[in-house]
């Protein structure tokens, strides 16, 4: 659904942001994009809904060119974004109004807005907070509100740009729980992060560095590469464990990473084989 061809981007001050990116994203795919700060991952995803326009090359969403201003509204209805800072993307004075902001911009009838807001709040589990102001919501709740706002747009694809980096670990778990729920719903998800453990279950992972895609593949193959450290990334301990076990001739199924309990169980039961 998303095609990126030879995309290069220079910042207004002339520095290079992206170099010749080629990428296709399929409908329903969960794509993880990882990289250290300044690697260009946020710059890349800002091209997906026309917030940034390519300096060279082309980005098309369902065949619509993001450089075409007449298509912009439709593109933004197709691809929504959730950003890093939960507070600056909260534009309503109450939670309910914030979630309604997008549908209101589409000039939908009030009944339809009401329905979308209620559904979205239900999915993120904030239906009891609808009249709360951003001041009385926690960081995690605000970020869930931002996800609800994206859901209320009923877009095909949601881009999550470093949404967990300003959250504490409990809120992170909360957000991850919602993502798990969303994933089954045939939505395309693009998830940007510098924490590799958040994209262990992605369909595909891209590693970016200095404005280029330097690695691409399933998490299993990408997270084996010993040079990830060069790109400023750190393997999650559990993956390191799995990799070391495999190097020692004790290969375990990658799917076991879904739950630590299962992995522990498997290791415990396999002790007889050693």
């Amino acid at each position: 659904m998303i095609r990126i061809e030879d995309l290069s981007y220079n910042f207004p001050d002339g520095t290079r942001g992206l170099k010749k990116i080629n990428l296709g994203i399929e409908r329903g795919e969960f794509l993880g994009i990882v990289g250290r700060n300044g690697s260009g991952k946020s710059t890349l995803v800002r091209h997906l809904n026309g917030l940034l326009k390519p300096t060279e090359g082309k980005v098309s969403i369902n065949g619509m060119d993001t450089a075409d201003p007449s298509k912009l509204l439709e593109i933004r209805q197709t691809v929504s974004m959730v950003f890093q800072n939960p507070y600056t993307q909260f534009v309503g004075t109450t939670l309910e109004e914030d979630v309604a902001f997008g549908p209101e911009n589409l000039a939908l009838p009030p009944e339809e807005i009401r329905e979308r807001v209620d559904r979205a709040l239900e999915v993120v589990g904030l239906e009891n907070y609808r009249n709360h102001s951003p001041k009385t919501l926690s960081g995690g709740q605000s970020q869930c509100a931002a996800i609800a706002s994206a859901l209320a747009m009923k877009s095909e694809c949601i881009v999550f740009d470093e949404i967990s980096s300003m959250l504490d670990s409990r809120s992170r778990e909360q957000v991850r729980e919602i993502l798990r729920k969303l994933r089954g719903k045939a939505r395309t998800i693009v998830y940007v992060t510098h924490r590799l453990e958040e994209v262990l279950h992605a369909d595909r992972v891209l590693v970016m560095d200095r404005g280029e895609i330097v690695r691409e593949g399933s998490p299993k193959t990408v997270f084996k590469a010993p040079e990830l450290g060069e790109f400023g990334l750190e393997l999650p301990p559990i993956v390191e464990l799995l990799n070391s076990l495999e190097a020692g001739g004790f290969a375990l199924d990658w799917a076991l990473l879904a739950s630590i309990e299962n992995l522990a169980e498997e290791i415990w039961e396999s002790r007889w084989k050693i």
């Binding site: 809904n49 974004m81 950003f83 993307q89 309503g92 997008g102 549908p103 209101e104």
Partner: protein, 257 residues
């Protein structure tokens, strides 16, 4: 954070349920009455009416009185000015600027006027969500040919509600920056001029950066400032017309009296 003046107080009273346009019109109308009134009897009646509305709204009177507090000094100044500067029968015969009975009367009236004006406004904001107020103002402005000036009523409404939304964040940022600069040895008491720049510059910088993030978030959610609808579409109910009629009768009665 303590509850501050001019805040919304959650409730479900008759006053809360009125359309914001009705309430805006009422506040405007009552303000005119307050400013036209020259007699204490009339002022007493307007105060009584205010107390009646407060009782209906279920908002605590002490909460509303708090919104007058920031301007108390200003009101007191006006009172004193009138008291001493109005010529007439002196209360105490002083050689310069003797306080006069006429001044006392005028000063009290003016002080009551400003106080009452603030109180009616406080009652509006206490019984109406900020978003409802902006919504109401937007609907009232919509027929005006603002497009010729390059803005729409929707733009204005969005600006208003964003200001309301981000004012607390702005103050919070200011406090954080002040604390950060103080911990770096900034001395506000001795060098106010340098101190002000030391706080203002980072504050403005941070606000512009946040504004950019807000813009991105708004654009991503298809904001275009043209036609929008609202989750709470305003509809005048029977209650609103009754209230406006009541207000009309009250004003007429008041003016004829």
């Amino acid at each position: 954070m303590p509850e501050t003046a001019f805040n919304y107080v959650y409730g479900d009273s008759l006053l809360h349920r009125l359309d914001p346009r009705t309430k805006l019109a009422a506040v405007m109308c009552l303000s005119i009455l307050v400013f036209r009134e020259e007699s204490f009897a009339g002022m007493g009646l307007l105060i009584a009416f205010f107390l009646l509305l407060t009782w209906i709204s279920g908002v605590r009177l002490s909460f509303l009185l708090r919104s007058v507090r920031p301007l108390l000094f200003f009101i007191f100044f006006i009172f004193c000015f009138q008291l001493f500067a109005t010529k007439g029968t002196p209360i105490i015969p002083l050689p310069v600027l003797p306080p006069s009975y006429e001044g006392l009367r005028l000063g009290t009236l003016l002080a009551l006027r400003f106080g009452l004006l603030l109180l009616y406004a406080a009652l509006l904001t206490a019984s109406t969500l900020p978003s409802q107020i902006t919504n109401g103002i937007e609907r009232l402005l919509r027929p005006l040919p603002l497009r010729r000036l390059g803005v729409t009523s929707f733009d204005l409404a969005t600006m208003m509600s964003l200001s309301i939304r981000f004012l607390p964040s702005f103050l919070e940022n200011a406090a954080t920056i002040r604390a950060a600069q103080l911990s770096r040895g900034l001395d506000l008491r001795h060098d106010l001029r340098r101190g002000t720049t030391a706080i203002a510059v980072p504050l403005i910088r941070r606000s512009i950066l946040s504004a950019e993030e807000v813009t991105e978030a708004m654009e991503s959610r298809c904001y275009q400032g043209q036609c929008r609808t609202s989750l709470h579409e305003l509809r005048m109910q029977k209650l609103d017309w009754t209230a406006l009629l009541g207000l009309g009768v009250f004003s007429l009665f008041f003016l004829l009296l």
